[in-house]
Symmetry: C2
Subunit: 111 residues, 2 copies
DNA sequence: CCTCGATAGTATACAATGTATTCTTCGAAA
DNA sequence: TTTCGAAGAATACATTGTATACTATCGAGG
């Protein structure tokens, strides 16, 4: 059964995919994460998480609709896309955080 | 060694403690969470998380500075307080989320 | 007194998530 | 054809999330 819970890293990965536009390559997602979250992200961690998000129905992917362009490596690249359910999950956790942050700006704003 | 990682639930618990003012009772934290995050929180889950936050140095607590007031139960109540490190951790994850949300309002705002 | 129920917290156990390291492949450069 | 780099998969284990069951103490009834 799909848990309704969404972890912190899963959340960030989903957001990073959205940031890339309609579709995103794992590598770009990784760059986005490292830049926004200021922490290293190993490829393994990222792919594991993407797989779990797929299992929950929060992302889908398809192979680069390749033409005869030679893929840049042994495996063809995958293009990820966030599903409606994924967006829904993001809305829910954002809503909760916004409520919890309310009134704490003085404490939480980085000066 | 203290992991620098802070989970989603830990984050919400910290915020809920702050919402109660200087000091918070576990029971009130629980109510705050259930109301803001729209999900049930068992006592076990909450105390477990508070203990872990304490181990990381993100919260401290002390017993109700009791006078002869009879505690309302078998155990005296604990008053929790978020430490400076805890606030710092919250700032970091908030900062990351704000960056990742940037530009996605159209998608994420609940209409 | 002694039992019962409610309350605050603890202990235990297990599921889900987070993360790094180690393979596999396959094209391209040497 | 050998080596190297890239994209991804597999494996393994640490950390978090969460529920259920257990303790201990106070007050009310009897």
């Amino acid at each position: 059964m799909a848990a309704s819970y969404i972890g912190e890293f899963e959340q960030m990965v989903l957001l990073a995919v959205l940031q890339q536009g309609e579709e995103a390559y794992a590598i770009d997602v990784r760059k986005e994460l490292e830049s926004s979250a200021q922490r290293p992200v190993s490829r393994g961690a990222l792919y594991r998480t993407l797989d779990r998000l797929e299992a929950k129905g929060y992302v889908t992917w398809q192979l680069e609709d390749g033409s005869p362009i030679p893929e840049r490596g042994g495996h063809p690249m995958r293009k990820f896309r966030v599903t409606g359910a994924g967006v829904e999950a993001l809305r829910a956790s954002r809503s909760a955080l916004l409520k919890l942050w309310r009134g704490l700006d003085a404490v939480l704003d980085e000066s």
